[in-house]
Symmetry: C2
Subunit: 159 residues, 2 copies
DNA sequence: CCGCATTAGTTGCAATTGCAACTATAATCC
DNA sequence: GGATTATAGTTGCAATTGCAACTAATGCGG
């Protein structure tokens, strides 16, 4: 027998979208502060570095897709990174609209220094959970992510 | 035997802070769009309404604490809401710096209309998970939230 | 009581973001 | 093959946000 559908009140502290937002915000701010202080990097820039470190030669659109950022955010992150000599950009010979992006040696150096910091933070956060809980959490997170994409904008409660 | 501490590379799509951020962002955008279209509300305004509906008479600082927003965000949200006739504000007799905030009848009406929408979205999101998984997820989320508060800004990987 | 530090809330300003318009190149379709 | 449409990426502008400075009221030490 399913639960009743339309309660009349809602407590913010039990509302999952709110709690997700607060947690993500706390975590991102902690990391953003560290990236900025130590490396002069924003989170978008860090994301660009992270994908280019593993897959050099991507275009800006590829980066946008893999980082869940929009193309404007990528464009500006890349601009900052090239200016700092951390990313190199050339145009694809076969399609002169497309950039070919890679980390420079300096960009790779930043990546090598930032990875341990990022992973250490993640490890200390997840240390709250047992290994089994960690992998459970990751699975649930992935399923919710897929679900949220399917759902799109909130529609009416046709209940 | 614990896992090795300092891998040299990191894949964004397995990095929990990134995944939390993407999920929270997807969910919040979906809700924000619905709130804006239907009620002309921003997310900060919705949060203010949600807490005042359950606990009328709070001050702006109280609201800030309960919504994890900073006082500037609360101030601006309240300004918009009072202008729309959805929140009333008086000064506390015992301390004339302090506001006493409550929903007006119109604010309560908005709340009653928005709650089913918000809960329906949450329900449809969580429908991805079994009831047992839902309660597990909520527990893990709560523990990570507490943990992230304890951690504060990311420090060095003294590993 | 009278200065001095504190707290509540607002405002101004600079940085960030998001969206639409724009430029340049490429692909498509008579 | 020339006009049309689509795609990659940038830029400009307006809205949002975050932080610090500010105003107003309170509390407190002497």
């Amino acid at each position: 027998m399913p639960a009743p559908a339309n309660p009349r009140s809602l407590s913010l502290e039990h509302f999952i979208p709110y709690r997700l937002s607060v947690l993500a915000n706390t975590v991102s701010s902690a990391l953003a502060g560290a990236y900025a202080r130590r490396f002069g990097l924003t989170i978008p820039q860090w994301r660009v570095i992270a994908v280019l470190a593993r897959v050099p030669g991507l275009s800006a659109a590829d980066v946008a897709e893999r980082t869940a950022m929009d193309k404007v955010a990528v464009s500006r992150a890349v601009m900052g990174l090239t200016r700092a000599g951390r990313v190199s950009r050339t145009l694809a010979a076969s399609d002169k609209r497309r950039s070919v992006l890679s980390l420079t040696a300096r960009g790779q150096a930043v990546y090598r220094r930032i990875v341990p910091l990022a992973l250490a933070y993640e490890r200390r956060l997840l240390a709250e959970l047992s290994p089994a809980e960690q992998s459970q959490f990751e699975k649930l997170l992935l399923r919710l992510q897929k679900r949220s994409w399917q759902l799109g904008p909130a529609r009416d409660a046709r209940v």
